[in-house]
Amino acid sequence: MIFGKPPKLLPVGAPAPDFEVLDHEGRTVTLAEQRGSRVLLWFYPHASTPG
């Protein structure tokens, strides 16, 4: 997929899919509990990525 067509992203205005996942400290994080705050999700390839 490296040279494939650009990914089709979620459209602006669409409901953001809820999630429930552990963070790096082992805390459970859900999108639902962030309601009332704006959220920035930064997807990155690997934890070894140069910062």
Partner: protein, 106 residues
């Protein structure tokens, strides 16, 4: 440079913004990454790739890593912006996101 850029600039952003990094890495790998760079925000360990699939950062469960994508979600839970970048556009991507945030708040 995206992660460090976020780390350094997030404090200037609105307090009503929560930042999360997302990768498919283990908790241990992300913990080391967070400590190395002093990220002030949580790194989510999407080892099952459910977030990656839901947010179109990966095409299938076999994906080794998510694509570099930045989403902003508004306070009601709707997608406010979505940006994907090539390897050459990483810095522009996060700068554009931050510029949009600043514009939103002023």
């Amino acid at each position: 440079m995206q992660g460090k850029g976020l780390r350094d600039r997030v404090p200037q952003l609105t307090p009503n913004l929560k930042v999360f990094g997302v990768s498919f890495d283990t908790m241990a790998a992300n913990k080391a990454f967070a400590e190395k760079y002093g990220f002030g925000f949580p790194l989510l360990c999407d080892t099952e790739r459910t977030m990656g699939l839901a947010y179109h950062a990966a095409d299938d469960l076999e994906a080794r890593a998510p694509r570099r994508i930045t989403y902003i979600i508004d306070a009601e839970g709707l997608i406010e912006s979505a940006e994907a970048v090539s390897l050459f556009g990483i810095k522009a991507n996060v700068n554009a996101s931050i510029a949009r945030l600043k514009g939103h708040d002023t």
